[in-house]
Subunit: 320 residues, 2 copies
Amino acid sequence: MTRTVVALSGGVGGAKLALGLARVVPEGTLSVIANTGDDFRHLGLAVSPDIDTLVYTLSGLADPVQGWGRRDETWHFMAALAQLGENTWFRLGDADLAMHVARTRRLAAGESLSQFTAQCCRNLGIATRILPMTDDPVRTLVRTDTGWLDFQDYFVREKCVPAVRELAYPGAEAAHALPEAIAALSDPDLRAVIICPSNPYLSIDPILAIPALRAALKRCPAPIVAISPIIAGRAIKGPTAKLMAELGLVPGASEVALHYAQIIDVLVVDEIDAGLELPGVRTVSARTLMTTLEDREQLAEAVLAAADEFSFHHSQDRLP
Amino acid sequence: MTRTVVALSGGVGGAKLALGLARVVPEGTLSVIANTGDDFRHLGLAVSPDIDTLVYTLSGLADPVQGWGRRDETWHFMAALAQLGENTWFRLGDADLAMHVARTRRLAAGESLSQFTAQCCRNLGIATRILPMTDDPVRTLVRTDTGWLDFQDYFVREKCVPAVRELAYPGAEAAHALPEAIAALSDPDLRAVIICPSNPYLSIDPILAIPALRAALKRCPAPIVAISPIIAGRAIKGPTAKLMAELGLVPGASEVALHYAQIIDVLVVDEIDAGLELPGVRTVSARTLMTTLEDREQLAEAVLAAADEFSFHHSQDRLP
């Protein structure tokens, strides 16, 4: 029996743990359901930031410093684009551009995003399955004091400066979950579902906003383990803590626990937060800051151990 | 009175003389009508090879060795594209790619090719006007023994190896000539029209195949001077001589003279061909091989002198 693992992931932070998981489970047994709410058209090109970060991270092509984009990237395209008076707020590296041009061409030729992504994984030697949450369009929108912004306008162009009042995921309600994602969540040999330490509101909620995916998680027999992206009230990277405060929430693992309470079985918090009382959810602590490759593997092991432990107790409960 | 000059040009060979002309006439008085029969969609991107060669040559950005593309170009996009299993027979450099992405975006946004090209010239500091022959689609097709090929398939993918039996320019008959091109050819202060030493069949004939442009040339009061791209029966570059032989023509300046006889007033042939008898057209010889920048300027001067001399004799003829 080959046991499988499913991860839900956004971009950089999630991809780090996905890589750790991919390295500690048997090859080809990990599926990552990727957020596509950040996807957008830029310069006419179909850009899928979270999928690309996963593809580059899992293939070893990722830039090790910034975590997104490709290592040893060059920027001659952007310099020439600036000469032509085009927008340059979204940086597309020369090699990275191949991904967007290829994706745009294949989508126009009638391929689905998931087909293109699977082909990418084959071409780049990635054994992990990277599954877009849906092939339908879903957008993450952010309401600021000056109105609604597309996610990338908020995240990249405005550098997360505007205060966020509300989030919306238009398209999610009507989106068809990727059948492979539903199948992966229904696998009788599923060992665990891992909600990566991505931004709960910007990266994970768009996935959970797709009714069929949320329902598949609810009925999933395997333990669901989330990792708090907040350590001692602060985000490891990105706007999570700032966003929580702007939404009227207290940035901290408690709020993350509350947010995921209806979905998860276990929350993994950082060692620093080990003493926190988190009512309503089983809590395990581990070192969650992933600086080195070993950190990622160790967190992956800890998360899977937490899932296995939950399964063990859960099966004990069921004993007559 | 500012006298103007119009050139008709394809890619590399034509752009060399266009640069020479731009350097010897007063700034901003040269218009180049560019062949767009080579234009095509590649990887979903709108590519205009002859316009781009003119833009890069006239802005000083061109690769001085190959004559097309940009100097100091890098190829990381192509390498990444190959990793993704995409076609790589048409080489797009990293910086060059900005041109195609920008053009594709602006065409999709409703701009015309001529508007985009004019904007490029402004952005890159080109005083010469580069005028696409039309904003309508015209294709150059090549019939080989295995059937019709799109121009770039023949020229780049097949490297001009298949024997050519016939040429066609679908779209040309119905295409609207660019109004600015017609206006330039009708300018009362027009000093000369120069048909650059481009391939007559692949680069100039698509321009002449547009009825309004051919008519404007016929009624043009200024002298029309062509430069033979064939020297001593051989092409300086590219498939001109091979193509002529395949079409049953004897590669040589005589055949070029015959080809242009109904349009031009003067044919400039190379010094080596100075002794040739070319019935039906006035002939002038000059050094037509353009290796250095000085060569280009000298040929430009010689061509304009030939036009001026023709104008002088022509005005003498008209004296009572």
